[in-house]
Symmetry: D3
Subunit: 302 residues, 6 copies
């Protein structure tokens, strides 16, 4: 079982809507190396874990639980990149007669963001392909699973480093940078688990090797040591028996953190009439607000 | 964010392995109307929720968080139906020279359970098709989303009622029966949310209409009132502003329960040498056990 | 069996080619909530119908037969939006040396419209994903099927209302508006079938709630009462035993119309040399025309 | 537009249920060379037809309209092979305590026939893969389209000849044999259309070459000349300008038949309680029957 | 078995990077009628060949082996169209502060070329759909296989003729033109194999009929007679017993060439730091170069 | 370019047909970790290789070329397991009236082997899913690619070890055992390439760890040292600069072999009338044999 904690794991900066950036960021959500995949892969490895070695199971359980929050974080970021894009283009500012959703036809974005969803995220990759459970790897073999997970985190981080170079939008960059840091921490988790079984990584890891001096947002997060810490996202975890001591990449001390971080408020998306979302007419809206305990006065002010 | 609570939401009864039942039960896990889908559908509706009406968002958040635990429950049940099936057939009892995995070729099971996974669950349906994010529905429109979710729960329950009639295996039945009851509770959650917006369901719901006198395991769970309760799986939920009062199906009082149930221990699956899972040789196993804090004495006894 | 009637169900207005609009309109043809899906879903429910209640079977039979004509209508509309787009851009008017199909590389359109088809429709959605039979829902349960169909029509209509806001092209709008009206009629068909079984919809339907004062093309069609009528597309239908009396949405009288509407001529698409379509050389063309009974004189004039 | 004629194009013989045969026959419905594909391929070629040569367009229009009826025929045949299979096995005759749907776990059938559908057909192939619009071929080039269609019909017929050899069940055989004959007629339609453009087929066609002396059901249908006739399924067709004279395979005279054949009654499938299909309780059933004009007396007798 | 010969089958001209052209050319690589498909289709027909008629088997073996080299050629061409595109746009020339991969967000290209691959080819089509083995046709029937292969080559060539009209980029055109010529030769191979079995093609072939006077690059290759020759790509082939004499299209003499052509050097792609490809840091690069026998002096000069 | 050498890389033993084993072996051909995937993955990494380090490119080129021969080997093995299965079952020996293809309905096999192919191999996995290019991994990053390839070979070998335990059929075992040995060699190739870049594997590799004393067929092949050798499958390879010296797993000396092994004759599959494969009638067969240079006398004797 899991308990919902109504907080985001990181803060998302405000910036202008950017549907092209939203489309690109979908790779991190529904792509072959995105967060839906890490979530499902680690949970299947958790459910199907064989052998009485709880610390190794807790490796996939901890990271796999963090990933639910990453799915939430990246989905919310995409929403912030999309919301209001239908009314923000310069054309519209000039021409009051313009069509509310005309920008949806622009090929730089994903038309489904406007047509199927209501300016919000979709379980697809940056090219529009739906997420598939074919991606999920669980061989039952502990060493192979750890190898695959290490490679998976490194590939995810590689793609996020490429994303970083695609847009300077602050909403986009705040989440991309956070995931670059966390994917590095996850690389360390799996690399360490293999190290304690006997592998010496030499200098081939981490992948990719990046100069964070050129990535100020990433640098700032590393200063908080976020690339060396792993929360357990549980109260009974034995992760700390593995994730401790020197980093497997020889870049400092790693540490296991009990429980979960404080987090940040989950934003509330406004109504979008042009999307019929949530699409309540005056009558239904009034009922919904009554249930939500919003008083008549507040309602009148809206 | 979410917190992992290392408990199963329901108890799974012990019975003989049954790969054919395991294959069938995959529909409830990775099928179009299975738990991976409800989990993802409700979470996307949660992340993408528009409008300032928290109780309605908490509807999808609560049920969507319960579903993570359902994915865990059904995956674990499949594992129990598969584990040991390679060594349990009557032929093998007679013929010590028999092949460890010969039964994998039997067409009644899913060969991938043995060949790809190591006698454990897969993210596929009963016909072997991988789960696809094409299943996830989120229109942005509140009324449509609620309608779809209601229909989704009813279809899931319909399929579980059909599963119930396919096998008497107790491991299988304990989880199928639990989900029949919970799907009914979820039907009520979404039906109630539409009722408070103005729909009167008459007598068409619930679907399917079943005579639980012929389903003793289901009956026993309903006696605990599990078909009328919904936990919030959160500490800040406003679900109770919707889910209260009379059942939308006119069959009693419904109630919102704060937090989550006590739960049951998560079982530990044993090593399976014939599957090379976890596949550690003596040397690696010793290291793993050391890390897990298992003493040399215990290890010698294994 | 079915009989082909060589007419379109609605008239398609002439306007300039617009490949971006054509790409968007594919959602209505090959999308998850498009016409290929309604056609197949209703026909499977028709073929697999259980129980001796012909009027309910005739509900899916009538709408399912209308949908074949909608597939034809929307496919033909896409063709009109594509045909000639290769030679119509302003660049080409200026530069006689320009490439005939250079515009196919423009990301606002679907390159397959030019490269795979010959400036004509494809069985895919607006994002280019092929139609999949995974979309087809038939549970065997009458109430669930009706619920799903109602939700399906409402979602289709929701997407068409969004499409309406994406382009003012008259070819595009004439078909989109017609389908907004017909999807509303279909919503009523399924809502009424549930109403006669006991549901009272209150004010939650229809979805979406739109102000047709802002949609003049839609308004014009509603003046013809097209949103309250359902043809049987058959000579033996008992649809009228269900679809009669007050609209389930309280907006007037609904009526069953026997047979099918008069319809409009199916347009003939011209040759496109740059697409090698139909690609007949002089010799083969002559033979084809002879078979078609086109005289030498007419041929010489072409 | 199309008009529904409530008749089947051929009669389906009664025999025992046979889920394994039903599973195999799905290839003819939802397989890559099955009837859903021919239907969609010919209709897309019809909608997208270029050039003023109506007889060639009427080739795909006529056969493409016949195929809607073939989808109906084969779907209905599968239903007859499935219906009642849950209660017909010998075990059940002996053991009154047996499970209603236990046979669904038998690997020779398709479990989705019982679990997803209610002992009825699905839009999938014999291996359970969903039909995909990737199958649809329309190049815009007339000669290529005709070649592909010829090859498509021949491959469909090849597969049906293989199906013929898989089961002697009369329900199965009556439809398989009918389609062997009709696919041959369709091969002739496309071969003739290419012949009039200049190809001489020599002796390579038809494919496959079969000895119908060993296929009595096929022989009987050929005696009715069904392998040499093509209905127009329309009242305005110019098909006859192409499909006339000698068979392109040198085996007799071919002829175009105006309109459509007489047809046979569409069977009504009974309720299946164990499938909750249609799943109406006493109260709802009574309402449905009232609408269907079934009198109280008749109802009491059921 | 196969032996790698480290040469390209044709020379690729140098020109500017062009991601839109690269995206389009993917159809020829991973499209339904692209080279991955011809490779796999012919090899499966080769492996599964029935009957003691080696010359017919050698038809699919020879062309199927040539296709491996075509996959290499077209993949390399796409790489040359992509490589350096990240640093070549005019914006970047002006703004030194610009993002290295900003152009990846441009909808005219395929974002996966930059985000998943490192400015290199992908096994997908021009619309981004992954190649699927559903495309592979092998019926076991010799005549049908030959028909399908003929149609496959003609469709491939049709698409390449359309591609020719989409861009004048020389890198793009050199490969597209070469494939137009080779696909014609392959059409002849399969048409001839059917001709020797008795078909007379009249004047319907080849498809498409193109005026190569308007395609100078194609004309130049035809002057070398490349459209009438087929190498065996083997030393034991009996292809020559079929592919000899008059062209089946009546346009000259065809000839079988033993072995394989001389070929051209395979280009070496440079490092791309912005893609972290190959991503070696100074230390690892030095090791790699040492192994490659690159001396310290050379390395210092890089 | 590649040159076809008409030999199999290993000998396939004769044994009885076994469709269930054939179905299982498909995983090694068209599965996610089968030979079609290794072939395509390594070739894409070869084509897209960046950087001037030929020995590393030759790693993927050599193994990627060997894999074409593995696709051939495993496809041919499946054919031998299928061929004649339609006429070999014990029922048929007893009942001359039995149906030629009745066994195709047996759920232990893959019905497509009989219905779509003609008792021959298909590009699908053991569960019948078509091979997908989604499987192909190429990140552009050298270290990641090598890691993935190592994990891919280890997973392939794990699955083949599981297959080994599923059947004792000699045809099946001869190929499965060969691939267990070769996959181990390939594991060493990629592990060595990472070792020379600095990784020390300790004792975690190889995966899986198997006791070949219990696998006599594997043992026999290892005695020939096949698990320590890698052919270049090229005449210009620099593979030997990497693959030499001690095994990365500390189990002996590894060696690079120039060119390719001698190989074994490719078997010729007989006609299967019940499959209409190749399906030539007397007349066409005579023509085909004439072309093949088979004399009238030989033909008469057949």
């Amino acid at each position: 079982m899991w308990l919902s904690v109504e907080k985001l794991v990181n803060e998302i900066k405000q910036d202008k809507p950017d549907p092209a950036a939203a489309k690109a960021l979908q790779e991190g959500l529904g792509g072959q190396f995105g967060e839906m995949r890490t979530l499902m892969q680690y949970q299947f490895q958790n459910f199907n874990f064989r052998g009485d070695a709880k610390p190794f199971r807790d490796v996939v359980r901890a990271v796999g639980t963090e990933e639910i929050g990453h799915v939430e974080l990246i989905s919310t970021t995409i929403n912030m990149l999309l919301d209001g894009s239908s009314t923000s283009s310069s054309t519209k500012a000039v021409d009051p007669d313009s069509l509310p959703l005309a920008d949806a036809l622009d090929g730089n974005g994903n038309i489904h963001h406007f047509l199927v969803a209501a300016q919000s995220s979709r379980p697809v990759d940056a090219a529009g392909n739906p997420w598939s459970a074919l991606y999920v790897y669980d061989s039952g073999n502990l060493v192979l699973n750890l190898f695959y997970n290490l490679m998976l985190e490194a590939t995810g981080r590689l793609q996020k480093c490429r994303l970083y170079e695609m847009s300077k939008n602050k909403t986009f960059r705040s989440t991309v940078s956070y995931l670059i840091v966390r994917d590095l921490a996850h690389e360390k988790v799996f690399a360490k688990a293999l190290e304690v079984l006997g592998v010496n990584w030499g200098k081939v890891l981490p992948v990719p090797k990046v100069d964070t001096d050129k990535m100020p947002e990433v640098k700032a997060l590393e200063k908080k040591n976020l690339h060396n810490q792993q929360w357990t996202f549980s109260k009974e975890s034995q992760l700390g028996q593995i994730f401790k001591g020197e980093s497997p990449f020889g870049d400092g001390e790693i540490e296991t953190m009990d429980g979960l971080p404080d987090g940040f408020d989950v934003p509330v998306l406004p109504d979008r009439e042009e999307e019929f979302a949530p699409g309540l007419d005056k009558d239904l809206k009034s009922k919904a607000q009554e249930i939500a305990g919003i008083t008549r006065q507040q309602r009148a002010a809206q």
